[in-house]
């Protein structure tokens, strides 16, 4: 499979090291390049030792929330009667994010090995890789890989002669951002609408089919074999304290070399954009960057000189999220960006709870009205106010995801909103012209 963008020499290739290798997705290639060594190593380890190693790596969830992976695994109850499951979140729907598909395309066995190690750690017997419906080519690809894995004894009974049994299946989504939320994904896996569940109980206790379940992102599982092979400490040391390892960052927008690159956590963001991403296109200046998918608060250009790790991002008031970085040049219309983001969340709101369902709809209508030149001065404040009315009050994080970028865009680029509104001759009138 061809690469969609050339790699950069400045990458630290841990989980993407097989990208570009001929037949990288075949079992033989994987075995010839150290594949399944980690899994075999775990046969000598106790479940607790595996979890401790993952904890030591300070690996955090690569889907967006950044929850410590080892800790998540440790929540799965031990010695329960009945099965425990693994679910892989390959829904990859956060705007700006396109990394998991590469990991499954180029190195599916790495993910499978990560899943098997997790299965060993929590005593799971079965798993599903949930992949968004739009990635049909990827599901077909994974299905052929799974078939090979079964045929060669790397899935099913007595895996690689270890006596360990595990079944793994692909599961397609059908077009719903919300199914990236773990409990909504589980509902979808059970053949229902992708509406999130009330938590607790968390999936570790009651997940897929109401059984204890480890649910992690594709990239998270893909990171596990190298951690086990080289040790948690080795992996942790690649990044910054509490922010172990490397990440796949999806660089998009107004840069010269957009692409997906693997870099250590803590790399300076401007360095990343300029040195790996080739700097701003057409000699333009940067205006802003959304650092980790469209649900993250936006950063002005002057706020981007920070390390890319979970904690530094949090300090800057935003998130590393899913690694979807979108860079915007000086000509970008931030009001239209705000509208486009809100349109997305309105489209994807599942409708379950009132603040998200009605809030995203209202905000989308209002932002569209502003863009159409029918905004009023009071609307500018109201955009922020309504977004804050969703924040922290919705049933699931989708409401927050819609609110956070909106609040930050209005706060940081208020004059652009005011300029739009100023085009409306009735902008200061009590009577608002409804578009």
């Amino acid at each position: 499979m061809k690469l969609y963008n050339p790699p950069s020499p400045l990458e630290t290739k841990v989980i993407s090291k097989r990208f570009g290798v001929e037949n990288s997705w075949r079992l033989d290639t994987y075995l010839a390049t150290g594949g399944f060594e980690a899994f075999k190593k775990t046969m000598e380890m106790s479940p607790d030792q595996i979890i401790d190693e993952v904890k030591a790596s300070s690996l955090r969830g690569r889907g967006g929330a950044g929850f410590p992976t080892g800790l998540k695994w440790s929540f799965v109850p031990k010695n329960v009667e009945g099965p425990t499951y693994i679910v892989v979140n390959g829904d990859e729907s956060e705007p700006g994010t396109c990394k998991d598909r590469l990991l499954i395309e180029h190195d599916p066995y790495q993910m499978i090995e990560g899943i098997l190690i997790a299965a060993r750690a929590v005593g799971a017997s079965k798993g599903w890789v949930y992949i968004r419906g739009e990635y049909r080519y990827l599901i077909d690809h994974l299905d052929s890989v799974l078939k090979e894995a079964y045929q060669r004894g790397y899935l099913g009974k007595n895996i690689a002669g270890t006596g360990f049994d595990f079944d793994l299946y692909s599961q397609t989504g059908a077009g719903a951002y919300e199914c990236g939320e773990e409990s909504a994904l589980l509902e979808s896996l059970e053949g229902k609408r992708g509406v999130p569940r009330i938590r607790p109980p968390f999936p570790a206790v009651s997940g897929a089919f109401q059984r204890p379940t480890v649910l992690n992102n594709v990239e998270t599982f893909s990171s596990v074999p190298e951690i086990i092979k080289n040790g948690g400490k080795w992996y942790a040391d690649l990044g910054t304290p509490k922010n172990g390892g490397t990440r796949m960052v999806c660089l998009a927008g107004h840069v010269n070399k957009p692409g997906v690159y693997e870099v250590p956590l803590g790399m300076n963001m401007m360095y990343f954009i300029n040195e790996i991403g080739g700097g701003m296109w057409k000699g333009k200046k940067m205006k802003a960057t959304i650092p980790g998918g469209s649900s993250c608060p936006i950063l002005r250009a002057d706020e981007c000189d920070i390390p890319m790790d979970y904690d530094s991002m949090a300090k800057a008031g935003t998130m590393l999220g899913s690694g979807g970085m979108m860079v915007m040049d000086e000509d970008t219309d931030m009001v239209k960006i705000a509208l486009r983001i809100m349109r997305f969340y309105k489209h994807e709101s599942c409708g379950w709870c009132i603040p998200c369902r009605e809030g995203t709809t209202w905000l989308q209508k209002m932002l569209a009205r502003i863009v159409d030149g029918n905004g009023a001065m009071r609307d500018v404040d109201m955009v922020g106010d309504l977004a804050k009315s969703m924040l922290g009050r919705t049933f699931c994080p989708l409401g927050d995801a819609a609110a956070m970028p909106t609040i930050s865009i209005v706060e940081k680029f208020r004059p652009e909103f005011e300029a739009y509104v100023a085009r409306n001759p009735f902008a200061n009138s009590e009577l608002v012209q409804v578009g």
């Binding site: 379950w352 009050r393 049933f395």
Partner: protein, 689 residues
Amino acid sequence: MSNMVKLTINETAVEAPAGTLLIDAAKLAGIEIPAFCYYEGMSLQAACRMCLVEIEKAPKLMAACVVPVAEGMIVRTESPAVVKARKTTLEFLLTNHPLDCPVCDKGGECELQDMVFKYGAGESRFTEVKQHVPEKQWSPVVFYDGPRCILCYRCVRVCNEGMGVGALGIVNRGVAAEIAPSHGDHLECDECGSCIDICPVGALTSGAYRYKTRPWEMEHVGTICTHCSNGCKTTLGVRNNEIVRGNNRDRSGVNGEFLCVKGRYAFDFNHHPERLQTPLLRVNGKLEEVSWSRALQAVVEKFKAGGKAGVVGSTRIANEEAYLLQKFARTVLKTNNIDHHRSGDVVTLLDSLSGKTATLGTADDCYNAKAVLIVGADLSQQQPFLANQIRANHRHHKAGIYVATPGAVREDKIAKASARTADGNWLPAVESMAEKLKGEKELLVLFGDSVKGEGVRKLVAFGESLGIPVKYICLVDYANSRGAMDMGLLPDLGPGYHAVEGAPGLTLPQMMAATDLDLLWVVGANPLARHTLASSKAFVVVQDLFLTETAQRADVVLPAASAYEKNGTVTNVCGQVQRLKRGVETVGAKTDLNIIGLIARGMGVNLGKVDADAVFAEIQKTVRGYNVPLPVIVTGGAAQTMPVNGRVPSTVLPELIQSSRDTLFTTGTLTRYSKILNEVMEAPGGLYR
């Protein structure tokens, strides 16, 4: 109690049992936490976000409907953050909710109105175009107005969890999400109207009620439904002496807020144009309208003349009327030829339980018993409230449900074991479950009319053999089927199941077959619908609401008041006595009690004071089991009759016992006169797949 949790809500110390949800704990302490989607007894949704409260140390506002109380928890339900959150949630709700309250049926009793009034903002900032979709009609009685819907999912849950029907779902996504019916554009369901009843706004409205009145223009009268035997309290909404609505929102009565299609809509027979309003007298072979005095005079003359008389009582008239009727028959007409349409073998059950205590089941037992066995009855069709209790018992208490029925029934879905019976031979099916039943802690057995006579004794013996406490409910058909028996509308047994003095009288079929009958007095029954009257010379007096088959054969027809037009008491299938309360005045008709009294007066007979309270006082004194506390009844409660607990010397063949096997949409003759029931009967009934 050791499992009590101490917490603080709004600076008030509150104690609640561990596991209590915060929203309920607050309620116990008299603190209201508003909510739309939270509904006691149903699954949790956390969707409306109205119940967000501040909990100390929580990073954000928490939904009180899903957070259990915890020791030392400090909660604020009226802090500025909470107040603002509620206000904006309501503001969000009103963005797409049409403000058509002036023409909305729910106006005046709308939870959204109340919430906005109490917690909402005085001003709306929404200036965009509202989302709109046209209103839809899903059945003769169910209309859905999507834009008014706030998606609290109560209707979906009451239909799925409550009724076990699952005829409502959620389609589409996001702001386009809406409720949808089971069959594309229409509903196939029980048509129970629970979805309408439970809707907090005017999204689901009733075809029977819509646009008829404003809620505040009605008087509300709580009485007992006159259809099946379950004895549901129905609160009649009465406007200008017309019943326009039936519901039970105040959850008074044994049934809480439950009502089936009949309880909710089938009061409309009361205003049917064919209701008799004038007495009829056969003159020259034709029934003619005459005055009350002339009609009564004709009856009195015949009654005085004597001869071989037969009396058929009703399964719908009040206890007082049934009691007085048999008293009249036995003391004035001096006959034991008195009977009614029997639908369950209560008599043999009472006899076989003689000497045992705590063996008669109640509606509460249906909800609380650890296990329930249903023998030979399609409960969801014939005993809708008891079926609802059992579903709730399964849902809330995980009760073990066992089913032995001739055909598939709704309870199969929740049953631990189901067996089909063949040719009325239910015993093998029941015995096949014996081992499982022995593993239960206790059992409630409900049985239909296929279990009668010796069968009842076999069933009780089977219950004995299980070695666990067993209670029984003998299912009967109509609102006062049980009372009719208790009051002694039987040829061999008087009030309280005492053997009659002298020889037992003729049974109903025997009366019909007797060629020498001189007089037949039918009060609120329609025996000629299934029997023929052999005696051509019989003078027939009929008291009824309508010109039934029997009334058409009558010589005198006296227009009777319906259950909704009288005071008195009825006894439900479980032996619970409840009060009928007059909701509307009669026009032309009189209560059966009144009519019996007038005939007695015409004959110069003293039956004592003929009013409902006085006759009930006599019943309390003289009828075994009926010495029930009056305050319970007069305050609208259900008083459990005492078990007879003694031998019942019955002589009657159990073959006479035959249920009408009504469905959800039928109840004997009355059904024909309910416009709504006839409309919704288009629905197939049975199991909805």
